[in-house]
């Protein structure tokens, strides 16, 4: 299946979403291209399509946003690439909350009315721990089952 490069309008929609929701400046995106593929958006270096035939590649780049349509869900790869550019959508958690999130448990955080629903990046002492979905009154861990199984049983965060 041929990969589908996002056109200017679609790309701009993503830029605006990431600026509004996560504070990522639009200039950050000048080095990247985005492809719609397999229920998500994939990030690659700009111009890669001019160098190689992507139609024969099994996969390329990183899936940074998942889901069929806008608004998308951010992935761990999104955080890995853009965390240093993010100024919004971040919450600091305690060590106990970090452990709970990694066990795929839902946590309660005192959140004022400024907290809108959606996906948040949870940090413990500035370190990325997990992505969580803010619902009515809780943050639901988005850590995949596969990851929980691989982490050590003695996973502990010290204050």
């Amino acid at each position: 299946m041929l990969p589908n490069l996002l056109n200017d309008n679609e790309f701009q929609l993503i830029q605006n979403y990431c600026f509004d929701r996560y504070g990522i400046e639009k200039e950050v995106w000048i080095y990247y291209s985005l492809y719609k593929r397999k229920e998500g958006l994939w990030l690659v270096n700009k111009g890669i399509e001019n160098q190689i035939d992507l139609s024969q590649a099994e996969s390329f780049g990183l899936r940074i946003l998942s889901g069929k349509n806008y608004p998308y869900k951010i992935t761990r790869s999104f955080v890995q690439v853009f965390l240093k550019h993010m100024s919004k959508g971040l919450i600091e958690v305690t060590s106990a909350q970090a452990e709970s999130l990694l066990k795929r448990e839902t946590i309660q955080i005192e959140a004022g009315p400024n907290f809108q629903k959606g996906y948040y990046v949870c940090l413990y002492q500035e370190k990325f721990v997990a992505i969580a979905l803010r619902t009515q009154d809780a943050f639901v861990s988005q850590v995949p089952k596969s990851l929980t199984g691989q982490l050590s049983n003695n996973l502990k965060f010290s204050e």
Binding site: V44, N45, I52, D53, S59, L62, S77, V81, E126, F128
Partner: protein
């Protein structure tokens, strides 16, 4: 001491300080962590190790590579491992990507990419710039490769599901090629024994002529294809994790004889490593003097797995 018929019969004259070599195969094997420069974490690996009061060793100060105490599963199950802070890798296998002396922005091919240790290392050196093509025909190994590229945040890589020989690219497409070919993996026998792995049976340690000849044939096909895909002025690194000259010097010799514009160049790593030169004679076979520019890495000299690296330039 365990009996090593394969090594004793074939390599007694080839490997220097042979008795030390044999005993090194049964010594504890260090767990090595290579730091990922593409990590998003706000601290480095050394900082983490210090915080943990870990008794680590940095064998080469110029490299962000650390030897740590076991058990291995603790490092594989660590949250920072899953967040891409490091890759568990043997010191010897860092040499092949480093020998390429890559620049960010190059067009690079990794011929036999899975499981991705060298591929992710290349991405780190390239700072995620340029284009890296990784090819691996086996579906299960490709899954592991993809997982590692995702974990270590490499986004300049495209994965192709082909054998290296069948790659659908035009000739002279790549600036640099890493051919870490399929091999008899004799260099990793140490790892297997220390881990108590059941993967290799004892009789595998004996020489199987038909197996070696089929490997040699595939290595020849791969190096010939690599030559075709390499641009003029480009660099090709051929590496294996075996001691067998049939899979190392003989493959290199074949490439030099077949392609007159291909020549061996010294491997400059920018730091000292206790390596031995490639052999110029073995078992009645003679190879050219330039073979001494290739490097043999032995476990009793660098406390890692056995490895072989050759670096070519296409003029």
């Amino acid at each position: 001491m365990m009996d090593w018929p394969l090594f004793s019969e074939r390599y007694r004259e080839l490997i220097p300080n042979f008795s030390e070599f044999l005993s090194s195969l049964e010594k504890p094997f260090p767990i090595g962590l290579r730091e990922n420069p593409l990590s998003c974490l706000p601290y480095g690996l050394e900082e983490k190790l210090k915080k943990m009061n870990c008794d680590y060793n940095r064998p080469i100060l110029e490299l962000d590579y650390f030897e740590v105490p076991g058990p291995r599963k603790n490092w594989g199950g660590d949250i920072d491992h899953h967040l891409g802070l490091y890759f568990m890798q043997a010191l010897s296998s860092l040499m092949a990507p480093l020998a390429l002396a890559l620049r960010p922005g190059s067009m690079v091919l990794d011929m036999c990419a899975a499981p991705g240790g060298k591929t992710t290392h290349l991405c780190g050196i390239m700072e995620n710039k340029g284009t890296l093509v990784a090819t691996e025909p086996d579906l299960n190994r490709r899954r592991i490769l993809k997982g590692n590229l995702t974990r270590l945040a490499s986004f300049n890589t495209a994965i192709y599901p082909f054998k290296g020989q069948d790659l659908p690219f035009n000739n002279e497409s790549f600036d640099c090629i890493l051919l870490d070919g399929p091999c008899s993996s004799e260099g990793t026998f140490r790892t297997d024994v220390i881990n108590g792995s059941k993967r290799r049976k004892n009789n595998y340690l004996e020489y199987n002529r038909y197996f070696r000849e089929s490997l040699h044939k595939e290595q020849i096909e791969l190096i010939e294809k690599s030559y075709k895909l390499l641009k003029k002025g480009g660099t090709l690194v051929y590496s294996t994790c075996t001691y067998d000259p049939q899979e190392n010097e003989e493959v290199v010799m074949h490439a030099l004889q077949k392609f007159s514009d291909l020549s061996l160049v010294p491997i400059e790593l920018g730091f000292h490593l206790d390596v031995c030169p490639g052999v110029t004679q073995y078992n009645g076979q003679s190879y050219c003097e330039e073979m001494a520019l290739t490097a043999r890495l032995y476990p009793h000299f660098i406390n890692s797995i056995g490895f072989y690296v050759a670096k070519f330039i296409k003029r």
